[in-house]
């Protein structure tokens, strides 16, 4: 048995119960922890959480400049470096660091939710046609290529710098889409002088593609019993028996390469130049205000832009498909966006810490921004409501639309991002056959088209925590409150 297998022999450390959904891991758990770790979860989720999470979140707590707590969201599970579901904020004016591993390889991976004015009864007869057409229009799977043809320079100067703005001015979307996207669809801090030719080569052909793994595009139904906040649902354009579209994808090979490039760079300078010692190479970091830290921040901004552009082009393709199938314009079909929000990003934000407003670089790795009403990060149209939050479930269980809760400031305005895996991909694949799974889903009313049957097996519902439990924990903690649950009818899986 190798070293990796031995790593599994963890024991659950002692946690201090602060409330039904707040658990603290104190700094004496591990040498070097600067702050405690705080896990947001119900007892049930704590019991189901894999034990490496505690070790990894404790490692995060050792990083320079960390404020308050190293947080783990209710869907937390082990990754490397940060756990998935990890949130950490570093004071940039006190030597706080930025870490590519605290943001993830799929930079600005996120969710987009789009409305229609169609009802379940109207869409039901066309469901297979829609899913089959979407499967062709939005390429999914390994190494897929999009329909947009750009030169390396166009990718560098326009996509990487302007994000969704590039897409909209190129005819892929509506102006109003931008105001319904986080950061208005553009990371203003991006600088394409900081990205490598390799990263451009890996990504310039992939605009408008989903990718693989847990990335998907779904046609979903708003069941009347699944609307929890009637007032807000109506205000945001949701109604009973409505059909909506949700999709999940990121910055593709470009973002992955940006992350790898800077992980390698940080490893080479971190200890020699900045004297920072870390407990896992994937925690490689550098002070935010260092040449390397700034370069990564600006390159990461380019990947943020790529992902906004990617999702904007995908939205355009979805509108085309619906317009064609229903013989109406996307405007006539009411295909407005609700929101586009990411769950893998480092964002420069101001938060109050011990009564003082501090400038922080907030890392969210598999954690969604969830802002309480009034925060400047929230687009104006939603600012009085709180930010819309989209949490995606497995392809069997459904997803949620939520709103930033009253206690969001307790977690640096962060919440969960999905169900959270409980079982490895390799194991899930051994437990179920992809074709069989998809036949079963179809029998239960969910029509799936997948680029890969084994890939679909990895995403089986039993490999995940119950999303209702995750949302319940977030709501009990008051960090994000459910507006509606959206259940899948059709799914294009990467």
């Amino acid at each position: 048995m190798g070293e990796l297998a031995k790593k599994m022999e963890f024991q659950r450390p002692e946690l201090v119960r602060i409330s039904d959904v707040i658990w603290d891991l104190l700094p004496d758990f591990k040498h070097g922890m600067r702050v405690p770790a705080r896990i947001i979860a119900t007892r049930k989720l704590i019991d189901a959480m894999d034990l490496q999470v505690y070790d990894q979140i404790a490692n995060v707590a050792t990083l320079p400049g960390i404020q308050k707590y190293a947080y783990c969201m209710p869907d937390g599970h082990s990754g490397y470096g940060f756990p998935i579901g990890g949130v950490a904020a570093f004071d940039v004016n006190e030597g706080g660091v930025i870490s590519p591993g605290g943001i993830g390889f799929d930079i600005n991976c996120g969710m987009r939710l789009v409305l229609t004015n169609l009802t379940y009864e109207q869409v039901k007869p066309e469901l297979r046609t829609l899913v089959d057409r979407l499967f062709r229009s939005v390429p999914a799977g390994v190494g897929s290529r999009g329909f947009v043809r750009l030169s390396h320079n166009e990718f560098r100067d326009e996509v990487a710098m302007d994000g969704a703005h590039w897409a909209v001015r190129s005819g892929f979307g509506w102006l109003e889409d931008l105001e319904r996207t986080e950061l208005q669809g553009r990371a203003g801090w991006a600088d394409s002088a900081k990205i490598s030719p390799r990263s451009v080569e890996r990504g310039f052909n992939q605009i408008g593609t989903l990718g693989s793994g847990n990335h998907y595009l779904e046609i979903q139904r708003v069941k009347p019993e699944n609307i929890f906040n009637k007032e807000l649902a109506a205000k945001w354009g949701l109604f009973p028996e409505q059909i909506v579209i949700m999709f999940h994808c990121g910055s593709r090979g470009f973002g992955h390469q940006v992350a790898s490039d800077y992980l390698e760079l940080f490893l080479s300078v971190m200890e020699a130049k900045y004297g920072i010692k870390i407990l896992d190479r994937e925690l490689a970091c550098a002070p935010f205000y260092s040449p390397e830290g700034q370069a990564y921040f600006k390159a990461m901004g380019c990947a943020v832009n790529m992902s906004f552009a990617n999702r904007q082009v995908i939205l355009h393709r979805i509108r085309e498909v619906f317009a064609d199938v229903f013989n109406k314009t996307p405007e006539e079909l009411g295909m407005h966006m609700v929101f586009d929000i990411a769950h893998n990003r480092g964002t420069f934000e101001k938060h109050e810490v011990d009564g003082k407003v501090k400038e922080l670089i907030v890392h969210r790795k598999g954690a969604t921004g969830s802002y309480h009403p009034g925060r400047e990060e929230i687009p104006e149209i939603y600012r009085d409501d709180g930010s819309p939050v989209i949490i995606g479930g497995s392809m069997e269980t459904g997803s949620y639309l939520l709103v930033g809760g009253p206690n969001a400031k307790e977690t640096f305005c962060s919440t969960a991002h999905g169900s959270g895996r409980t079982m490895s991909r390799t194991k899930a694949k051994h437990m179920v056959n992809g074709r069989e799974l998809i036949r079963k889903l179809e029998a239960s009313g969910i029509y799936v088209r997948t680029a890969s049957y084994p890939g679909a097996a990895e995403e089986a519902g039993f490999a995940y925590k119950n999303i209702d439990d995750v949302v319940e924990a977030a709501a009990l903690a008051g960090i994000s409150m459910p507006v509606a649950k959206l259940v899948p009818l059709g799914n294009v899986k990467g």
């Binding site: 990754g79 593709r252 390469q257 790898s260 896992d280 390799t426 680029a451 084994p454 990895e458």
Partner: protein, 143 residues
């Protein structure tokens, strides 16, 4: 084929162990494991295109990391998967060098039964170890 996928190590990702009597064999097996993560049927990958890879590193570990990252790069940049790896590794004065000709073809969803898109080779617990029998590597891939 001397590699195996590990079930309970990386919950969201893919972990494997590879072995080899020599470093060359280890690199070959690790490359096959990575390719097998993306394509279920390795035998279906024909050898129509050749790419040459030359890398240098301070140790065997960094060299393997760099080599595997090259394969991830070609998957996106040129949509290539490889099934034959002619590898030559040398150590001289503390520098490790690889010279490899890798043979493959453009990826195809149906033909190769593609599974997971490898985003990156993770450095978390990434190891190359000298053992009594030869060499062993432990790798986690971000998918």
């Amino acid at each position: 084929m001397r590699y195996r996928f590990l079930e309970d190590i990386a919950i969201a990702d893919v972990a494997f162990e590879a072995e080899g009597k020599t470093l060359t064999e280890l690199f070959l097996n690790a490359a096959l494991a990575l390719t097998n993560t993306m394509a279920k049927d390795l035998n279906s990958v024909e050898q129509k295109v050749v790419k040459n890879i030359q890398l240098e590193a301070d140790n065997a570990e960094t060299l393997l990391y760099g080599f595997l990252q090259e394969l991830v790069f070609y998957k996106d940049a040129e949509l290539l998967l490889f099934s034959r790896y002619d590898i030559d590794i040398r150590e001289e004065k503390g520098k490790w060098r690889i010279q490899a000709n890798i043979h493959g073809e453009e990826l195809n969803q149906e033909k190769h039964q593609l599974v997971a898109d490898v985003k990156a080779v993770s450095l978390h617990n990434f190891k190359v170890l000298k053992t009594a029998e030869g060499w062993r590597a432990e790798v986690i891939l971000d998918v």
